[in-house]
Symmetry: C2
Subunit: 168 residues, 2 copies
Amino acid sequence: MAPAGGPEGAHHGGAAGRDTGPDLGTPTLVALRDLVTTGARVNHVVARRAGLSESELVTLEHLSREQIGPAEVARRLEVSTAAATGIVDRLVARGHVERRPHAADRRRTELVITDTGRGEVVGHLLPMFVALGRLDRSFSAEERAVVERYLRGAVEAFERVLEPGQDG
Amino acid sequence: MAPAGGPEGAHHGGAAGRDTGPDLGTPTLVALRDLVTTGARVNHVVARRAGLSESELVTLEHLSREQIGPAEVARRLEVSTAAATGIVDRLVARGHVERRPHAADRRRTELVITDTGRGEVVGHLLPMFVALGRLDRSFSAEERAVVERYLRGAVEAFERVLEPGQDG
DNA sequence: GGCTAGTTGCTAACCAAGTTAGCGATCATG
DNA sequence: CATGATCGCTAACTTGGTTAGCAACTAGCC
């Protein structure tokens, strides 16, 4: 695209400004950052559009793929179990989720996403899903292998920060 | 630590379960989703570790790259200007940002990130930056071109959802 | 069997961070 | 120099998180 002069409004070239160490100004890394930023914004916007909090939306996304209970919700969203209770309460109140007693373990509550809950997630995101599917298919198997390797590496890089004992 | 069973993640094959339309189970798309999810978690965790809200952290990230004021912060974070005022208040209180009158436009306030503010961002994320830089360099120019094309396409797909008038 | 430790999901009390509404100061335009 | 838009703020309120603590339950150990 444009090797010299980015699309940004303000001045700040790739290698200009402060030196934070490694070069984060390569086109791929910039695209990576844009992706994560845009992904976060999608969550934010879709949640508001659906009349849900971000936590509720993300919970619905998890429930649309897996069977998890409130405690696992708390772990995935990295919130307290008390907060998870509130999230589930609100989802139940809106009819997006149902609570059911767990058959084998009577401490647990099973959470079942309803059709309206699933519709809320899929409905708003469908145009994105379609575009992503089309994008993915437009790449060859070899190209996808390269992309996957990059993405997996990036996830691993992200996880560097998540590991405990990182603070010191 | 957990004698009563680990994570409850249930089975779910790539193409199993409901049919939401396009096939989102390809390795690349799964990796893409993991990336966005992990990216969001990084924000969440780093913010908490730094004693900041997510909004404050994201604001610092923006300020570490560009000169923007409270109104622009509100736009980028998609929050009200009143919320942006609060965000800046808190950042100023912690010494991460300074308010300065704008020279040319006396309605505006310039926000200047301090060294401690910059350190808060960079410090926690440095291991990630290093890993990302190393990852990026481990790919050839041709490979990076492929990856960039994929990432840009994905951002575009995300934006399908952000465009206004998407609701009805 | 019975004890003990760990997990699950909830309530209660509190607090952080967002919202809408509205205002004064300032800038840009015709 | 009036009109309208923008910027940044305050005030009052609501939402959604936190910590603390509890009863029910399961699993491991003697």
